[in-house]
């Protein structure tokens, strides 16, 4: 499996480390149901067979966090984005560190 890093080009997956599903979003700790939301955030996953947006870190390259859209059955990669851009798009008001 090879991943196309927007900075470094196509590299073998041994250069990257894997965090997991990119979709869970840290809940508001001040919300009334925060305990339940955090349990979902930390532990529960959709775990689909098919396209999954997931977080990879280019540890042996440019040190970018990437959101890679990859099919979990065929390993085909359809899209690679910077995690920073994904986070900024999700919450345009917040300042996202580089």
């Amino acid at each position: 499996m090879r991943i196309f890093c927007p900075y470094c080009g196509e590299r073998g997956n041994e250069e990257f480390s894997y965090l997991g599903d990119a979709s869970p979003v840290r809940p508001d700790p001040a919300a009334a149901n925060a305990a339940e939301k955090f349990a979902d955030y930390v532990y529960l996953r959709d775990n689909p067979r098919g396209p999954l947006r997931e977080l990879w870190y280019h540890a042996a390259g440019c040190h970018s966090w990437l959101v890679v859209t990859r099919d979990t059955f065929t390993h085909e990669i359809s899209r690679v984005e910077f995690a920073r851009d994904v986070a900024a798009a999700r919450n345009p008001a917040a300042e996202v560190g580089g």
Partner: protein, 416 residues
């Protein structure tokens, strides 16, 4: 047909013409008391213990492929109960006790071989950690011995004891651990369950779960709809795909682990051995091939194959430990799917859907658990509540904070 020395001798004399198929190729009936989804070791063992321990014989096991085609045929056949946490020790020790009586119980040669499991340690700190684990095992009535370097060298003279980075200081040994023949385990359970009236239905893939008012009433399959009072899921590797049909999200990710077997050689290693400084384990099959494996590949996948960097990593670990391995050729290698759970421990429990029961989250250690998993799951399904042995393996333990994290790495499935 009951197997014995007499049946073997008479068949040998009569040219082996009288052997019969060991289970019926059943067609699905319209209605069952219990339907078990998944015809691997765990599902078949569950059906067997439902019939034997709880008198439930109107039971079907549904398998999408054929018996033994999934993880039952893809594991590395190791059995052991050398755990640290009490919830795991008592469960896996019950499994070990069932292994010790399994052949007589099933009247089937499952080739249980208690050849010993040797976990090597490579530093003073690791010796202390292994001594702690051994003590935890002994406190729970499990055998454990801490070996020094000379004792290990007497058992395994061919290892690289003076490796500059990871010298071998000793090992934790569980003599009662070992291996069993994986195919024989599923065949033995299938035969014994069939003899008690269980229908084993192959090539029958479940495509939907029928749920009304929060209760399961049956399953939709490629061989028609089947009604059931209770349904048990034993489909580790594919658990999330099945539970998503009931709208349930799981504390599980699907991962792949690879395994390897070399060309056959003379008897070289008479135990199961694990490397303490990397993830590598090895034993020798009865045909002479060295069977080995290591870490999961580390990314979510439903493909039953792995990637080459993991192959390299595993074999590097093996050769660092046992340099002579470099002279052997790998004959076959394959991948199997795992339910990697968020704390590295399994789930045997009810679900929020009435009548739907869950057996999942076996990580890379499901084979050794087969007898106790089936035994506990059968109890849970028959009684509607967990047995004391699986009462900690709850689905709600994550939200409740009662995780069973043997390795202490947190909610990161690829690190367990």
């Amino acid at each position: 047909m009951k197997y014995s020395i007499f049946s073997l001798a008479s068949e040998a004399l009569l040219g082996h013409g009288g052997w019969q198929p060991v289970w019926r190729d059943a067609a699905p009936k319209a209605n069952y008391d219990v339907v078990i989804i998944g015809g691997g070791g765990h599902g078949l063992a569950t059906a067997y213990y439902l019939a034997k321990e709880h008198g439930l014989t109107n039971v079907a096991v549904l398998e999408k492929g054929w018996i033994g085609s999934g993880n039952a045929g893809r594991n590395t056949t190791i059995i052991r109960s050398n755990y640290l946490l009490p919830q795991n020790i008592r469960f896996y020790e019950w499994s070990m006790k069932l292994w010790e009586g399994l052949e007589r119980d099933l009247n089937y040669n499952t080739m249980v071989s208690q050849r010993g499991v040797v976990n090597l340690y490579h530093s003073d700190a690791q010796r202390d950690a292994f001594a702690r684990r051994g003590n935890a095992m002994r406190l729970n009535g499990v055998d454990a011995e801490l070996l020094d370097r000379a004792q290990v060298r007497a058992m395994l003279p061919f290892l690289d004891y003076d490796n500059a980075r990871f010298p071998i200081h000793g090992a934790l040994l569980q003599r009662r651990g070992g291996t069993a023949r994986h195919d024989a385990v599923v065949w033995g359970y299938a035969r014994a369950a069939d003899q008690r009236g269980v229908d084993i239905i192959q090539n029958c893939e479940v495509t939907g779960l029928t749920i009304r008012d929060g209760r399961i009433t049956g399953v939709e399959t490629t061989r028609g709809d089947i009604r059931a009072q209770k349904v048990g899921l034993a489909v580790a590797g594919s658990t999330s795909l099945l539970t998503s049909m009931a709208g349930l999200r799981m504390p599980i990710e699907a991962h792949v682990i690879q395994a390897f077997v070399t060309e056959g050689i003379k008897p070289a290693i008479d135990c199961v051995m694990t490397f303490g400084a990397g993830h590598f384990y090895i034993s020798q099959s009865d045909k002479g091939g060295l069977v080995f494996g290591g870490d999961v590949d580390g990314y979510n996948t439903y493909a039953q194959r792995g990637n080459l960097p993991t192959v390299e990593d595993i074999i590097e670990g093996g050769v660092a430990l046992w340099p002579g391995l470099g002279r052997l050729r790998v004959l076959r290698h394959w991948g199997g799917l795992l339910d990697m759970s968020m704390d590295g421990s399994p789930i045997i429990d009810r679900t929020p859907i009435a009548g739907l029961y869950l057996n999942a989250g076996w990580n890379y250690g499901g084979f050794k658990a087969t007898p106790a998993s089936g035994w506990c799951f059968a109890y849970t399904i028959a009684r509607g509540e967990p047995h004391a042995l699986n009462s900690a393996f709850r689905l709600d333990r994550f939200a409740a904070g009662n995780v069973i994290d043997e390795k202490g790495v947190g909610a990161q499935p690829n690190l367990h």
